[in-house]
Symmetry: C3
Subunit: 352 residues, 3 copies
Amino acid sequence: MIPERPAEGYFFEDYSVGQVYHHTPPRTINDADAVVYIALTGARHPLNCSTPLARAMGHRGCPLDDLLVFHAAFGKTVADVSYNAIANLGYADVRFLAPVYSGTTLAVQSEVIGLKGNSNGRSGVVYVRSRARDDDGTEVLTWIRWVMVASRAPFVHAAPMVPELPAQVRPDDYKLPPFVEVAALDQRITGSARQWSDFAPGETIDHPGGMTIEESDHMSAARLYQNSARVHFDAFAARALPHGRRLVYGGHVISVCRSLSYDGLENAFGIAAIHGGLHAHPTFAGDTIYCRHVVTAREEIPGRRDIGALRLRMLGLKDARPADVPTPAPGEKHPAIVLDLDYSVLMPRSRS
Amino acid sequence: MIPERPAEGYFFEDYSVGQVYHHTPPRTINDADAVVYIALTGARHPLNCSTPLARAMGHRGCPLDDLLVFHAAFGKTVADVSYNAIANLGYADVRFLAPVYSGTTLAVQSEVIGLKGNSNGRSGVVYVRSRARDDDGTEVLTWIRWVMVASRAPFVHAAPMVPELPAQVRPDDYKLPPFVEVAALDQRITGSARQWSDFAPGETIDHPGGMTIEESDHMSAARLYQNSARVHFDAFAARALPHGRRLVYGGHVISVCRSLSYDGLENAFGIAAIHGGLHAHPTFAGDTIYCRHVVTAREEIPGRRDIGALRLRMLGLKDARPADVPTPAPGEKHPAIVLDLDYSVLMPRSRS
Amino acid sequence: MIPERPAEGYFFEDYSVGQVYHHTPPRTINDADAVVYIALTGARHPLNCSTPLARAMGHRGCPLDDLLVFHAAFGKTVADVSYNAIANLGYADVRFLAPVYSGTTLAVQSEVIGLKGNSNGRSGVVYVRSRARDDDGTEVLTWIRWVMVASRAPFVHAAPMVPELPAQVRPDDYKLPPFVEVAALDQRITGSARQWSDFAPGETIDHPGGMTIEESDHMSAARLYQNSARVHFDAFAARALPHGRRLVYGGHVISVCRSLSYDGLENAFGIAAIHGGLHAHPTFAGDTIYCRHVVTAREEIPGRRDIGALRLRMLGLKDARPADVPTPAPGEKHPAIVLDLDYSVLMPRSRS
């Protein structure tokens, strides 16, 4: 017998290390999700929206956008992990392990891998490792995240158990299907000839676009992912919260930044891994998001002479043009920076 | 020759008992409608979004959400029945007769079954019985609704003809395909082990979530259903109306409540019937909707030992948490209650 | 080697007559785009939403709405043609050449056919001829548009080169697949028996509906079309612009008008051509759009006794009911009129 989930969701004292949650409901993702994702984020990377290109690259159809898969899988975990979350603190060791195609039904589970009560005895940090599998049981995505969760009542906590978090996913662990071809990723398809070897560590790319987020946009996105976290939907209850407003799902900000980054990183056809990241400040409806990328490393992928990975720092800014904001040192914050993500994208190595 | 519909739609004096309207245009509903429905309402009941579960339950694919089918069929009737409606007064005898799958083209018709002029001679109540059929001509949905419709000019009306409205759909009349299996509706799929036998009449379920409705959300929903009722779309004309604002399509409120009710009624995999219901107060953009359910009866379905029906009173609240609102006696109103629906859902009878 | 597109897009001085742009990325449009289009515009013309009707008319499935195809193709051109546009000045010679079905990947290219620097030396008009092709290389859509584009720096321009713009597409050039049948376009399908022969030049049709546009609506539409023009998305940057607000994509206004026109032009099952048109005034979120059509000619289509074209003047109004606005003489403006389009629709010639 699995114990019934409390009607009001789990609180900090309900978690114990080693516990496993099988998230519900399962969800079949299909081409329509891909289209709605485009309508909500403005995504333009052609591998995810051009069937002929996807086939020319060896796929049987357009793989679903990596971030759509991430959000759909993440959304499943909310009811068990972050329904009573105060803040989503960070991500680590996010690995995109296999392409996901239209018609896939994701099964997602999470294991509690760490717990740390806050000294005020009213909340604590829950660390979970989540895994998403496709219909064949193949793991397509795995990630660690940690969230601050309210407690039901003041508590005196046992010794904290903080898991070791890998500083990065190693390029050896990037999973790239052997069949993937990149010759078709031509400038006439992507709009740019700039590929892996054309970028140098230290280079900064300020993407020209900006996108203002509306309440309908971020709520529709979260609903699409069946993410039921209250903070995104309930303006009435939010009046009693510190910000007094609904919070934009942080993942939507990541998607908006990825979408804006098409102008400048046209050939970044997929995400290999997210090494770590955090939502430095909350985003609200009405905020305009801009994006800067800083190239931090050019990574070689074992066994692939045709594809490399570009390690990037994605900075999401709100209500400030990138040109007006200096890049803070790693780990430092800036009031205009809402998102600071360390991740690696896949790119053809040389001009085709 | 069918007479041409007036450009400004029908008014009260245009209707006569026995008249039949074949609604236009026909509309093919598909998986993309199901996805957009999820994005707009946050629906999570797994039968409608997990293909493997749908197949394990005996379906050939995910049946479309019962309420999506209802709204799509209802939307068709608007141009002929409620284009000049002042208010949608109530529903009765709503029967969900067969699952509807992606690719179905609904044909909908309505017959006027009653007319009652208001004493002011400026409006009247029109009662219609509507029927939706699929491509094979199978009736998939039938319902009665009555609306208050403006008159073109002051009138002296003939004797009212008010149809007898059934107080409920009898469980003998619930249509459940013989092939439907519920063994797969496991806690690991739905998130809860609570099934038919675990609920008792009188039990109250206050669903924890709340959802604020935006103009884009309810308009996109009504557009998806090709519901062209002016009151939902035209803010300029609305300035001259009593409320001064666009009205949210009442069906969207029902969908939001059904969506919120997933947390607490996880195993309610379908709707058997809506016995009656009314929109007690209007809903506007900016309102936050909450939902309470009261179990009013546990119904046995003839010939099924595995599935029962739970008769429920669905209360939709706006800008008030369920915990703060007492349940009014049947037929009584409360200023915070916008929706009061008497309906029955299908549930597995015993734990699997 | 194709030169790399500048990060900030092209400016007036970057263009030269004869230059050809292959727009990126390619995009596969499918049934889900059609559904999202309905959710955003309220489109109801049955050829585009009823599979049985489409088949009865000889198509292999629902063709995508002509305007959806136009917007998707137009959206591709933005990054190269109008990223730094100050205003979209007009359209001419827009020809819909072949039906486009779900699954088609559009390839779009544009050639610069004219340039005219403004006397202030800070902007100029760029004329382009664009062509969209399907997977077989068949041209499905071609159009001319001209936009005012900012210059990077003040310039002294060479002699202007203004292309000759055809005043209209001739009915001889309307492309109608020989297989198309219209017998099925019955009143029970479309809602009206009024066909080509029932309309007379000079007739005015004031469509009864109105639709208020929200920021989410027009941005989602533009994102669906992967139209990345900054003016639609960036409220922060817009504060520095004359209007101080995001502009609604003009194509969305055309779609809303076409959608509203279903009540009155039910049998206009397709668009043959747009002869010319302009966005007379900008539209902003919060504006309510109404639509008037004036019949300007009844056109015969060579070789077709069953189908005729109706040449129409589409007037899009904002925050003013058509009944309150006189039709201005061609070429004249009225403060309430935001859209003035000269186009031809296809209709069955005689009652079936």
